[in-house]
Amino acid sequence: MEKIALSRRQILAGGAAAAVVATERPASAHSIKGEVPWAPSQADAPHAIDPGGYIFFTPQEAALIEAAVARLIPADDLGPGAKELGVPTFLDRQLAGEYGRAERWYMLGPWRQGSDNQGYQSRLTPAQLYRYAIKQLDAHVSSIKDGRRFANLATEDQDALLSDLEAGKVDLGGVSGKAFFDLLLQNTIEGFFADPIYGGNRNMEAWRMIGFPGARYDYRDFVAKHGERFPLPPVGLQGRPAWSSKG
């Protein structure tokens, strides 16, 4: 029962991992015998991000990211866009964490270019790719737009540049502009629609906009109501504001 053994909460509480029945052999293995392991307070709940300013992005990087995501999912008559809903903060925390470090990815060489069907083959982690591509993109903009940065361009020019990236027309110093664009778009959509605990989708506004009721787990009463509009507002993993008293 490795989770019990490693639980800081349990150690701090002085709680012994009582549920484990270890055999003598071999001493170091996690052996489970004669019972279904269970112990209180072991739920593997998610961690909400710490609010506040950027951890990963520099101010200049943040300016580009804020401007770019505001074009990918703009604020308009339908409602707020990616920037307003906190997607830059979502991206910042993702890149500062294990996703940014590619902790679950296979990152051993040899490194070779492959076909599109073989997928990602860069030695850059997502965090490294963002950092490098943002710098290169601003340098590219500066060279063709009289020293200006991406964030300072008119929105039409930003759109044109993003389209060029998407179409594979821009090389970012040896990194494919399309690879960066695809990752940025994917991560932006993730942040826009993920649970608000990760920094985006502020107040579940993106869910409300499309009609997704969120992290609900029981629709039995509504299964047979074919074609009717689901009447309840979204809830997140931390509930929704109306559930909390204003302390």
Binding site: H30, D44, P46, L108, N117, L185, I210, Y217, Y219, R220
Partner: protein, 586 residues
């Protein structure tokens, strides 16, 4: 090096569906059973609780329940002329790590294969003549009739919801008229249907098909299985595939077997123990046990009388290759057995958009849907079509999880205001018809060991050489055309047809239905295991899972994996233990 441990009766490699089923069987038979799982212990209240399992980012997009590519992945190429490169993160398929394996994050679509699927070579050759050049389709060595009681056992273990279409040879209205005969009905009635599957069923009927509720391992009502383990009714939360069920409503090892098995005195589970190889004696014809490495990096030799490979299909094949268990397959000479006939699934989709109908697909379950089977297997005449095999067509409402599921009409840009408007306009008014096609085996599609890339333990990764062939594309296009006809009969505003074009890509998610590589059969020259899943080379090694499929029919594999496991368990209990040795003479 490895320190030697006291011997055990049975060592199971991996602890997902097949290992849990076998452990239950063998402990009942009085054997001392040890399962070795490379991942951690996981269970419903602590790891999949309904207060946090509905987390799309964490579980699907950050892969929390899946295999970590950083520890072990595979290399991939479309053909032998390319250099295989590592799959650096998961994409096309999602193997698991941890107790319960992929059995905790599956959808629960639990089919039986057709009687003709088990005799695909002889049946197709008899009806259509010689197979296409390079096609290495084989008969299984086991028949549907032989497996029927074992399908039944697995369905009752899991509490499958469904409607019989053929009871003892008599067709049953409302069920799948093409299925093989069953001795009795499903243990549970079909799930309650949402709107979109009913719209599909109506259109399918109008276009001359016989729609039926798809068989589901999501509970249509509370259920107590033959082991006395209880499951709760499904709540249609729409977080099945890629997630674990927080509600004890989806059959998994945890919800059907482990509460009984884990308490038995003659069963032991060791977690974070990764098996490195199967050890063979100096004749190579008998296994002496296995060697594994634990979480501290220490190596242990575990002697065992019986070794059973119960890991995911790709991992079983790799372990055989690393252990010298069976001759590796060589596509040049078409000889050897381990790695032979790797296959997959070919899928396509037709999205359906309405102006006036709220489909609310966020109300869903992993195997909630209506399907048709007119175009599966050899249920239709293939004369002149240029392919064999087929697949089912179904409208599932598995989910409305918005990062993954926000379909937009043809021609919509991928970002910007127009994209946003299309998502907002269509999210509640769409659904999608899927086709789920067979992949026949071909000489050039196989698994072997990669010459360059290694895992965290320094062992070679498995190398996958695979592409769809003309047979798959013709078949999938045919299915997709039929799906589009039904989609139009649903009278939508518009549809979007997404065919599976060109070469196989390991990037976009398709299915975790990787099959073959250690196939079963009648001939030790062309199969790695016999009809009881027993290694032709070492009689005390058995190999479970979809790696035994000689080719991959047009259904999800788990029902057949379950049936084969009980079939093999019976042979081991009733034949092998009485007289250990080859159950079939080569």
């Amino acid at each position: 090096m490895a320190r030697k441990l006291p011997s055990i009766d049975v060592a199971l490699v991996g602890f997902g569906w097949t290992a849990a089923m076998l452990a239950q069987e063998f402990t009942d038979a009085g054997l001392n059973v040890l399962a070795l799982e490379r991942g951690v212990w996981r269970d419903t209240p602590t790891d999949f609780a309904p207060t946090f399992i509905q987390d799309e980012l964490r579980y699907y997009f950050r892969h929390e329940l899946f295999q970590e590519a950083s520890r072990e992945t595979l290399t991939f190429r479309n053909n032998g002329g390319e250099t295989a490169l590592p799959m650096r993160h998961l994409g096309s398929f999602l193997p698991a790590t941890g107790v319960g394996g992929a059995g905790i994050h599956w959808n629960g679509q639990t089919w039986r294969f057709l009687p003709t699927d088990f005799v695909a070579k002889s049946h197709n050759e008899q009806r259509y003549g010689k197979l296409a050049e390079g096609m290495t389709v084989q008969d299984w060595g086991v028949t549907y009739d032989e497996l029927e009681p074992y399908y039944d056992r697995f369905e009752y273990l899991c509490g499958i919801s469904g409607k019989a279409g053929n009871l003892n040879g008599t067709k049953q209205p409302g069920g799948n008229p093409f299925e093989g005969p069953r001795k009795r009905d499903f243990p549970n009635p079909p799930m309650d249907m949402t709107y979109a599957p009913m719209l599909f069923a109506k259109a399918a009927q109008e276009t001359g098909h016989a729609p039926f509720p798809c068989p589901s391992a999501n509970m249509s009502r509370a259920y107590t299985n033959p082991l006395g383990v209880q499951l709760g009714p499904c709540t249609y939360c729409g977080f099945c595939e890629k997630y674990a069920c927080g509600n004890y409503s989806k059959a998994s090892p945890q919800t059907t077997i482990l509460p009984v098995l884990m308490r038995k005195p003659n069963f032991e589970l060791r977690t974070q123990c990764e098996v490195l190889k199967v050890n063979l004696d100096n004749t190579g014809k008998k296994a002496t046990g296995i060697t594994y490495v634990d979480a501290q990096g220490e190596e242990w030799e575990q002697p065992a009388d019986l070794v059973i490979l119960c890991a995911f299909a790709l991992h079983n094949v790799r372990l055989m290759l690393l252990s010298g268990l069976g001759q590796p397959y060589d596509p040049e000479t078409n000889t050897g057995v381990v790695g032979r006939n790797y296959a997959y699934q070919i899928t396509s989709a037709v999205d359906v958009f309405f102006d006036d109908k709220l489909t609310n697909t966020f109300i869903g379950a992993g195997s909630l849907g209506m399907g048709i089977d007119e175009y599966n297997g050899d249920n239709f005449d293939h004369t002149g079509l240029g392919f064999i095999g087929g697949g089912y067509i179904a409208l599932w409402t598995t989910n409305g999880r918005p990062i993954e599921t926000h379909p937009v009409p043809e021609g919509t840009p991928k970002w910007g205001s127009k994209w946003k408007k299309a998502v907002v306009d269509n999210y509640l008014k769409q659904c999608s018809i899927s086709t789920h096609g067979a992949v026949m085996s071909h000489r050039g599609n196989y698994l072997d060991l990669d010459p360059f890339y290694r895992d965290v333990h320094g062992r070679p990764l498995v190398r996958m050489t695979f592409d769809f062939t003309d047979n798959e594309h013709r078949m999938s296009d045919y299915l997709t055309d039929r799906a589009a006809e039904i989609a139009r009969a649903m009278q939508p505003r518009e549809i979007k047809v997404s065919r599976r074009k060109g070469s196989y890509s390991i990037v976009p998610y398709q299915t975790t239905h990787n099959t073959g590589g250690a196939i079963m059969g009648d001939d030790p020259k062309t199969s790695a295991v016999n009809r009881y899943l027993q290694s032709w080379q070492a009689h005390n090694v058995f190999v479970m899972g979809a790696c035994a499929f000689p080719q991959n029919p047009g259904y999800n594999p788990t029902g057949t994996v379950g049936a084969l496991t009980y079939w093999a368990a019976d042979a081991i209990r009733n034949q092998y233990l009485k007289s250990p040795g080859p159950l079939v003479q080569a």
